[in-house]
Amino acid sequence: MEFLAIVNLIIDAIVKILPAVLFMIGFPLLGVWYERKLLARVMLRIGPLHVGKYAGVLQLIADFMKLAAKEIIIPTKANKNIFIAAPIVATIVAALPLAVIPFDGNWVVYRFDLNLLFVFAMASLIPLIILLTGWASYNKYSFIGGLRVIFQMLAYEIPLVLSVLGVVILTQSFDLIKICNAQSKIWFGLLQPLGLLVFYIASIAEVERMPFDIPTAEQELVIGWQTEYSGILFGLFMMANYISFGIHSLLITIIFLGGWLGPSFLPPMAWLLLKTAIVATLTMMFRGTYPRVRMDQLLRLGWRILIPLALINILLTLLIPTIGLGVVT
């Protein structure tokens, strides 16, 4: 009897962590392939075609195997410990928020009341790791890339957190499950369009995607702070980048776009993943359409435009009553 109970426990645990782990591994693999095909069509190309039976689906697995088999080159004067530890730590820190993000009303690895705050706390650790990476590589380009990351992420974390405060005030909690369930009548994206806009732009800047990918400006700095990285360490950085991209898209969906709520012909998790996919597609399209902004223009946008907009959003939320819409729980 006890043996069966233990097996039950283990199966329960595995089922509980399954969506998070699948997301962590699947989003980079599928996401990169999807992005490459999407951008290729925009650019009048075809994208991966040969690996895998249909449209090169297995291309990413081939790429990952290639990266894993490459030699890891460490510059002589680099700080070996930080150099090797940084990508591993970055991937772990980037993937940790998946432990508290709910994929469904009940499906979450660890139920925690302040899960939104936890996500933001993990997001603010990443710039520190990148700065250390840039310094430890003993390369001028990496160093400049690391400094640029600090400037950029500092400027955009503040609007990121401020823009969510409107939603937090309306639902009076930091809990993602409560926030999502509170949108059963109307989505927060429609109630707080300013908040959605600011959060979206700030999150693109936080995950270093075009048009805000200055730290990895390939044409000027030879890929910036990742210059000295090769092989599996580079693969881990790419994974960390895409995992945080996926997490931010998930956050936008849950906080502003109704999360897993939707008509019942699809299971709630399917709605969540569908909406996340739409948000991610939109962000990926930016990469094919816009050039990079310059550093001073980026900082001007962050400090002088986004923060005031986020503050105006909070002001409007406090002044305009929305109790009648049945939002406050």
Partner: protein, 359 residues
Amino acid sequence: MAVLRISWGPQHPASGQMRIILDVDGDIVVNAIPSVGYTHRSIEKLAEYRRYFQIVPLVERICNLDSFNVTLGYVQAVEELMGIVPPERAQFIRVIMSELNRITSHLYWLALFGIMPGQPTMLMWPIADRELFLDLAEMVTGSRVTYSYFIIGGVRADLPSDFPNRALKTLDYFEKRLKVYDKMLYRSKLYEMRNRGVGIMKKADAINLGVVGPNLRGSGVKVDTRKDEPYQVYDRFEFEVPTEEVGDAEARAKVRFHEMEQSINIVRQALGMLPEGPFQVKAPFRAPPGEVYKKVEAARGELGFYIVSDGTDKPYRLKISSPSFRNLAAFPFLMKDVTMADIPVIYFSLDPFPLDIDR
């Protein structure tokens, strides 16, 4: 903060085969010193050991993308020295191919200019459209770049019979694509933010520094060899020389864009006026003693050939005054007190071609 010396060097995804030594203070560039010579092949010295007709492939290598314009410069300088005049059909063919080559070279520039601010779509589209023009060139000469098609006395072979139709079809398609580029590149707000007001060269500075080509025309100076000293049959066509007043990177980009439109115009007129007749004239081996300076308007600017002949079948001295070498003076002038992100934008708005600089 201390000044960091970065080598925006030959091993760099964005620098071409030359090196710029940047002194950077934080994010601001304090000083920029170009360091060239990585592809020096001593073409001028080698030319003294080869006969006149053997030098055409040699001279072509100073700009292999823009080969028609470059060889045209050399070939017509030698023709003036020898005193021969190529037949009319050859002159028309030369003008058509040169203008098509101008479009090709400007498309290559547009691709690099698009990706420098970080916009990969603008890299792929012009390169894809350039393939159509390379197909046209392949139809006529057999190769995609470095054609060696012009010879002293005319052209090497006649145009294929279906060339005019195919060329007109390609040009019609390309005109539509130019409108798309206009929307994507020139009207995009982010491009304006990156290019407007960056790398400004006023009129007096541009003349003083001696820059040529679209760089000079982007600063308001209307200098174009095709109008100043018309060569081949350029004086029979009606076309404009686009000029912009402001002198920043956006102005230079606009000049090149409008030049592409004007090239389409010229090719259409030339194809309509193409006469029948021979395409070659026999040229002597030896040139009479004397000297000649003849220039052409290549895609990057004005290219001048100075040939001194002593009566034998090899030139005594060949001096090439290439556009990118003359534009080099603008680098230290423009790259002061700009942020590092502006360096690729300024660099590619001047359109340097290191092979041109080094010869």
